[in-house]
């Protein structure tokens, strides 16, 4: 998918229902723009995101995956984001080892009140992925036609 032949990355953003998804809504109602490359998937909690989903995204050709949750201590389910943080630290280092650079994965805490933070985070992330270019490592392995 490219408009004007410019590289348009595919970016999947997992957002927890209580903080980050609401933060994204606030970014929307405040008209704080970020590139259309970002597509959000709503999950109840950041701890619902199975590392498998992220691997799957890269296999299917995603160029970057970002996971957003409530700030530490503010998780709607008390502890979910701590699990997410631990799991992702492991997964991201493994992905880096497999050739999916650390810049393509990110965990960010965004509260329901942080529309500005949501938008700046997404702008930064897209910028980063654009600078890294297309993800070829996992995408090449299978599934991509």
């Amino acid at each position: 998918m490219s408009i004007n032949n410019e590289f348009r990355p595919k970016i999947v953003a997992f957002c927890c229902n209580w903080c980050s998804y609401a933060g994204a809504d606030l970014a929307g109602s405040s008209r704080l723009a970020y590139p259309a490359d970002v597509k959000i998937i709503r999950v109840p909690c950041s701890c619902r995101v199975n590392p498998m989903f992220i691997l799957r995204a890269f296999e299917k050709g995603a160029d970057g995956v970002i996971l957003c949750g409530c700030h530490p201590g503010d998780c709607h389910y008390s502890t979910g984001n701590y699990y997410a943080r631990r799991r992702m630290t492991l997964l991201f280092s493994m992905l880096d080892y497999m050739g999916v650079e650390n810049g393509r994965t990110r965990v960010e805490w965004v509260s329901a009140a942080e529309g500005v933070k949501f938008s700046t985070t997404m702008n930064e992330f897209v910028e980063k992925i654009r600078s890294l270019g297309e993800n070829v490592r996992l995408g090449d392995l299978r599934c991509k036609n």
Partner: protein, 662 residues
């Protein structure tokens, strides 16, 4: 295969101006399972919902995708709509093409492409949806109010009047909050105690209200309708059932050198004390850090003088466990510390005070018995300077970015009261803006200027320098006349920014209620749900949610009470059916899932399973769907892939990923 209908909303021009809705309709018709697609002006309207209903009947739909605003806005609306037309409400998915698309993108082609992709993801998900049945949970008809200031008192009174039981937990020895420290109140200048004390008495005497003072919430578990809370009742060292409140102990106590918290440290109190004369309950506490009996083992005077035999040095903290259906946070505020504001010489001079300290000085029961005098030498001041916005509307990190909202009005109040009582005292107010929106507020401020001759100067105070003769040299700018001012003052009063009370972060964490960057509690919706927190069953009252004066606090307190009453009036709540469910053929009873469940919803039991014809007893995970809140922690922890979350299953989420990356 599902039969899916897709409904694309224009939202007036909110969506249709940036997303080509016709194109979206055309594109989604190519998706597997989609048998119907249409667009309409306002899908959430009666007419829009009727269109959905008609399509459900005509096209025998088994699932629905609505491309519209955020599911946080109208998911419930469309679920109810589906149910009304005979479809299981959990066969509905929303593609958020407004907040996440049309509102943030400008280019029509780009926004349309994205809208199609978001719709595809929702369609892919619905293809895997299964009907779910919501369960029911009971409602404990009792409310907890944390904080006993005017906000907490008013909320409790309103709930109690509606016939429900309420407990107030207040951390200090008395209810009353900041309002009990104020002298007179704007905009009417009635005395604070005269309007507050009757409410405190009402609360204490109300058959439905139970007050725990000198107590704090220690642990919260459960969820809306069914919270379990541990309250620590700190040892008062006085038996409240015996104490008659005569006050002899406080008189006779030899340890009298502890700065009084109630008087903001301007006077001292004894080790055994009630914070102020009208305290409720009128039962003193022993401050064990200051008490000689506790420090040295010698003394015991209070025990000897207490006729009622109420002193109990051996009293221990007590933990009370109670169940509640709803919790209201009303923890109020404090003024910020001024350690970083050296330019105002607050720490160097006793005659530089905060406005809250001035309230105590002006109060007849305060440290100077209501006489306006300098704390350094007891002399009557002739020249007083007020500085507004100290730490408010501040761009550096010494202060707060927000407007504290009450300072313009209370400064006008202070200036007016001083000019009224001491007409020969000159009063100068330095301000950045005077903000007086509120009923009779601007009139009040103008009276201070016009009738009472208060000298208002638009400008900032750069420095307050204590002089050898005991006076204070105030250096400021006059922004309207564009000149520098140097003037001598006998007293400087700082309208200090307010901030949420210290412990609020801890309370918010226990309640999993969110808090903003300034530590104010966040409301569920800034406009439409201002007294609810995003956590179901948790409500907000008073300044803990944002700066407010007393009238606004009381209004919000009543609104929070109404929400609580609405909840407690229900006998049952429907529970979220999106709960975890283990696959009994995959589960091997390893026990990992229970370890990560924050609600203790998972237990294990031995059950017979039929594994492809082989019958055997196996240890299996079992989820209590009334306790499960559907976070999904267990699903990722499960090493066998046995645990899945209904409504957000592995297959559904992977289908969304695939649709987006296609």
């Amino acid at each position: 295969m599902q039969r899916i209908g897709v409904f694309v909303c224009h939202c007036g021009s909110n969506i249709a101006a940036t997303v080509d809705v016709k194109k979206v309709v055309e594109m989604v018709l190519l998706e597997p399972g989609v048998v119907h697609a249409e667009d309409y002006q306002y899908m959430c309207s009666e007419a829009g919902q009727a269109k959905i209903g008609a399509a459900i009947a005509d096209k025998k739909l088994t699932g629905i995708v609505v491309c519209s605003c955020s599911p946080r806005m109208h998911e419930a609306t469309f679920r109810k709509c589906a149910e009304r037309y005979g479809l299981n409400p959990y066969m509905v998915e929303i593609a958020n093409i407004r907040e996440h698309c049309s509102w943030i993108h400008k280019d029509m082609q780009e926004a349309t492409e994205k809208a199609v992709i978001l719709a595809r993801a929702a369609i892919a998900k619905v293809n895997l949806n299964a009907p779910l049945q919501a369960g029911e949970s009971r409602v404990t008809k009792r409310a907890l109010v944390i904080g006993g200031g005017i906000a907490g008192i008013q909320t409790a009174l309103d709930i109690a009047d509606a016939g429900y039981e309420v407990d107030i937990v207040e951390k200090t020895p008395s209810i009353g909050g900041r309002m009990s420290q104020l002298d007179k109140t704007f905009p009417t200048l009635d005395c604070s105690a005269c309007i507050l004390t009757p409410k405190m008495v009402d609360a204490a005497g109300h058959p439905n209200i139970n007050i725990y003072t000198y107590s704090e919430v220690e642990k919260v578990s459960g969820f809306v309708g069914d919270f379990t809370v541990d309250i620590r009742k700190k040892a008062r060292s006085v038996d409240a059932t015996k104490c008659t409140g005569c006050g002899v102990c406080q008189e006779k106590c030899p340890s009298k050198k502890t700065p009084s918290e109630f008087n903001r440290g301007l006077g001292n109190r004894s080790a055994i004390y009630t914070p102020f004369a009208q305290a409720i309950p009128n039962v003193p506490v022993i401050d064990r850090e200051a008490c000689l009996k506790f420090k040295t083992g010698k003394c015991g005077v209070c025990e000897k003088v207490c006729q009622a035999g109420a002193i109990d040095y051996a009293q221990q903290d007590e933990i009370i466990t109670e169940k509640y259906g709803a919790i209201v946070v009303a923890t109020g505020f404090d003024t910020i510390k001024l350690d970083q504001y050296d330019e105002y010489a607050y720490n160097q001079s006793k005659d530089v005070i905060t406005s809250l300290e001035l309230e105590r000085i002006m109060n007849a029961a305060g440290p100077t018995k209501g006489h306006l005098e300098r704390l350094s030498d007891g002399k009557a001041p002739k020249e007083i300077v007020f500085v507004q916005c100290v730490g408010s509307r501040c761009s550096d990190d010494r202060g707060k970015p927000y407007c504290s909202k009450i300072c313009c009005m209370y400064t006008a109040k202070h200036a007016m009261l001083i000019r009224d009582k001491y007409p020969d005292v000159n009063v100068t107010v330095f301000y950045i803006d005077v903000r007086t929106p509120g009923k009779n507020f601007d009139e009040f401020y103008r009276r201070a200027v016009e009738e009472y001759g208060v000298n208002y100067i638009k400008g900032q105070v750069g420095k307050v320098a204590p002089q050898p003769d005991g006076s204070l040299l105030v250096q400021a700018s006059d922004l309207l006349d564009n000149k520098q001012i140097k003037m001598k003052a006998d007293m400087v009063v700082l309208a200090t920014a307010i901030e949420p009370n210290q412990g609020v972060r801890n309370i918010a964490t226990m309640l999993t209620a969110s808090i903003d960057t300034n530590n104010f509690l966040t409301e569920a919706h800034p406009k439409l749900r201002p007294v609810e927190s995003p956590t179901a069953g948790v409500f907000l009252s008073g300044v803990c949610q944002g700066p407010k004066d007393i009238p606004e606090t009381v209004a919000q307190a009543g609104a929070a009470a109404v929400k609580v009453i609405g909840l407690l009036a229900k006998d049952k709540l429907t529970t979220n059916p999106c709960t975890a469910k283990p696959d009994e053929l995959l589960c091997n009873g390893c026990g990992n899932c229970a370890k990560v469940c924050p609600y203790g919803a998972i237990t294990y039991e031995v059950r017979q399973v039929n594994d492809h014809g082989i019958r055997e007893d196996r240890r299996l995970a079992n989820v209590n769907s009334a306790l499960c809140q559907g976070c999904g922690a267990c699903t990722v922890t499960c090493p066998s892939g046995a645990m899945d979350l209904q409504g957000f299953s592995n297959r559904q989420l992977i289908a969304e990923v695939d649709a987006i990356c296609r």
